[in-house]
Amino acid sequence: MMTHYQWAWPIAECLHFLGLCLLIGTVGVFDLRMIGLLRRIPLGALHRLIPWGILGYSINLITGILFLSAYPDQYIHNPAFQIKLLFMTIAGMNVAAFYLTMYRKVAVMGSEEQAPLAARLAGAISLVCWIGVIVCGRYLTFYRPPNYFWCPWC
């Protein structure tokens, strides 16, 4: 599909960028609140926007799989893609740790309340990972396989 229709690729890219905005606008903002910024917003209530972040993530997972399945070699041997997957894996483990150990405490917190240290750390890890995912995603184009000779591990 991605290679047969001329407009499939640009449309999927636009969706990938819009999904990214949804993810950062909800999960990224929640992370900023957890590390101690935007304290006027009640922490527990802010979590109610997370389903929109899951929607953004799902859009990006689907469009991402479409890109990957169209030109697998362009991605699998691309150092930017490999580091992007690493950041996504760390972000995934961080999400699991957050919901298994900290979510119950955080869900009932209001405005001006400081999240526990572990939750602040989880917020910081999440922000670093998602910003890393964006940077690697943007660098993908510049490290496609014909140029990967410099990559020490590929």
């Binding site: 640009p10 819009l18 949804l22 304290r39 109610r48 405005s111």
Partner: protein, 142 residues
Amino acid sequence: MLAFPAILAVHAIGMAFLVGACAAMDLRILGFASRIPLSSTDALLPIIRLGFWLNAISGVLLLIGFPTKHLTNPVFFLKLSFIAAALLDTLLILKQVVRKPPREGASVSMRGKLLACGSLVFWAGSVVSGRLLYYTFTRLAP
């Protein structure tokens, strides 16, 4: 050219925070996550400002790098129009909706909800037309 991908990356990060924070505010105005006090979303303004300036600066650098590519492409001017409309809409939302919230329990006015819908459409238009610049330019250099 090492700077080009770095500037593009900054432009994508700024976009995510600018459009994302505006979208979060718009979704709250439209009635989602209604436990968030509307007036508290004013706290998102520094994030919106930071995203805007990151993208204004990186955007000007990208324009300086490839002036012909952008100034000969009508989609570039469409993108600028979407951004202008989105910024004006966001200013109106801050002044007339977020800083003048309805009384306790009352829902946001229809005008406020229309402004929020407009903001979502204009910001999405900016993102989409920005992405399509790559597919629509006809001349890279003079």
